[in-house]
């Protein structure tokens, strides 16, 4: 492919932001549980694209590249703060709590955030990608730079912890009916 053809297909910065800033922010938010940190991560990711994105040969992998970059930046920022333990779990050893779809539907963003905050940090990224994007497990493994088996075990474990957290959290306050007494 000639350079001209390649650059012709390369998305311009603005349309790339338009297309991906929402899922990237949501992924960042799932990782950090902080709006400002998620904004910073999202911005940093696009900045890295602006400065190094030209190195990506296969433009069809832009989305994966962005998610990979965001995750790396997140890990890097965490590494600067403190080292958090990485441990592998080969199987789900927690019982899945019985939660209903209706219970999940009652959750608001703040409660989802609280629930996310209760699961181990190592599960945040795989669980977020599992729910946010329809990536194949192989792609998630590439984004997170971990083996596919590890991806699956982390997602299983993370889902279990998330559902436990949701089951243990109080239901969202329902709007009170006005009294006309």
């Amino acid at each position: 492919m000639s350079h001209t053809e390649e650059s012709a297909k390369r998305p311009d910065f603005e349309s790339l932001v338009e297309q991906y800033y929402r899922p990237l922010y949501q992924f960042a938010f799932s990782l950090t549980q902080s709006e400002s940190d998620a904004c910073d991560l999202t911005q940093q990711t696009f900045y890295i694209w602006a400065t190094k994105g030209h190195q990506l040969r296969d433009v069809s992998k832009v989305k994966s590249w962005l998610f990979t970059t965001l995750h790396r930046e997140f890990l890097e920022s965490r590494r600067r703060q403190k080292r958090f333990p990485h441990y592998e779990l080969s199987q789900v050893d927690d019982e899945l709590p019985a939660i209903s779809p209706a219970r999940v539907s009652q959750l608001d963003s703040a409660q989802l955030l609280v629930a996310l905050g209760q699961i181990d940090a190592v599960y945040h990224a795989p669980v977020a990608l599992f729910y946010l994007e329809d990536y194949a497990y192989k792609e998630i493994a590439e984004i997170l730079s971990i083996p596919m088996g590890t991806v699956k075990s982390r997602i299983s474990r993370g889902i279990a912890q998330l559902q436990q957290a949701i089951a243990g959290s109080p239901p969202a306050a329902q709007p009170k009916k006005e009294s006309h007494e």
């Binding site: 949501q26 999202t42 209903s100 779809p101 999940v104 963003s109 599992f130 946010l132 299983s156 889902i159």
Partner: protein, 251 residues
């Protein structure tokens, strides 16, 4: 595979996504087809997963984030540009300072002697084969003065009395080491064609020629088959070049 193992596998199953093609899920899904409890569990679990997926995808996006990203990009991209401009400006200033430091030395090495000026003017005539390019061709001295005055030349030159009788043919302005030189051309009368020039008078400000001949002195010289007469009068120095016979006619 038992039911618990199937549940562990199917926890990762996402209906509608390529997961069904994954061989890991095939056996578990096959078991769910046969096991009513497992099938029910899978159905409920799929609903929960879909609800969670929807929640994740509805995480609110802060207002103005997109604009902030785009403006950050502009700030980042304009920073190198600013740096480039600053660097260019600094380089430019350095070059200017260097030139300013070196130029006076170079100029001090330029030969500003009268001899240099004299030789250069003679070569001008010799190179042009006695027909130096004229910017104005006229026999009218008044027009010549006017033209020179209008072109930063020396319109107020003073001719020796004898030369005033010669027929002017035109004029031009030249540069010598950044200084203005006026050239006035004459026909000495030796050549019958009235517009044929054979005498060339070069005029320069005396101040531009540090070692000009002293006022009152008239010096003759021979160079490149041409004869020259040089003198200083008032604030100007003059060099008249031509063949020796014509020159002698006027001095």
């Amino acid at each position: 595979m038992n039911r618990q193992q199937a549940q562990e596998i199917l926890l990762l199953y996402r209906p509608g996504i390529a997961d069904a093609q994954d061989p890991d899920f095939a056996d578990a899904l096959a078991l769910a087809e046969k096991d009513a409890d497992l099938r029910r569990w899978l159905h409920d679990q799929s609903l929960v997963q879909n609800a969670l997926r929807e929640k994740f995808r509805k995480i609110p996006i802060p207002e103005g984030l997109k604009e902030q990203i785009l403006s950050e990009r502009k700030a980042h991209t304009s920073l190198p540009l600013k740096r480039k401009l600053v660097l260019s400006a600094v380089c430019g200033v350095c070059v200017l300072l260097l030139v300013a430091a070196i130029l006076p030395r170079l100029r001090s090495h330029e030969d500003k002697s009268f001899a240099n000026f004299h030789n250069r003017m003679v070569r001008t005539v010799a190179r042009e084969g006695l027909y130096p390019r004229m910017e104005l061709e006229t026999n009218d001295l008044a027009q010549i003065r006017q033209y020179l005055a209008q072109h930063q030349g020396h319109g107020d030159y003073v001719l020796p009395v004898a030369l005033q009788k010669a027929t002017s043919t035109g004029c031009a302005t030249l540069e010598w080491q950044g200084k203005r030189v006026s050239m006035v051309c004459f026909n000495s009368g030796k050549n019958p064609a009235p517009n044929q020039s054979d005498l060339f008078l070069f005029i320069i400000n005396r101040a531009d020629l540090p070692k000009a001949p002293p006022p009152g002195a008239l010096s003759f010289a021979q160079a490149n088959r041409l004869a020259t007469a040089s003198w200083t009068y008032g604030d100007k120095t003059y060099v008249l070049a031509g063949d020796e016979a014509s020159l002698r006619k006027f001095f």
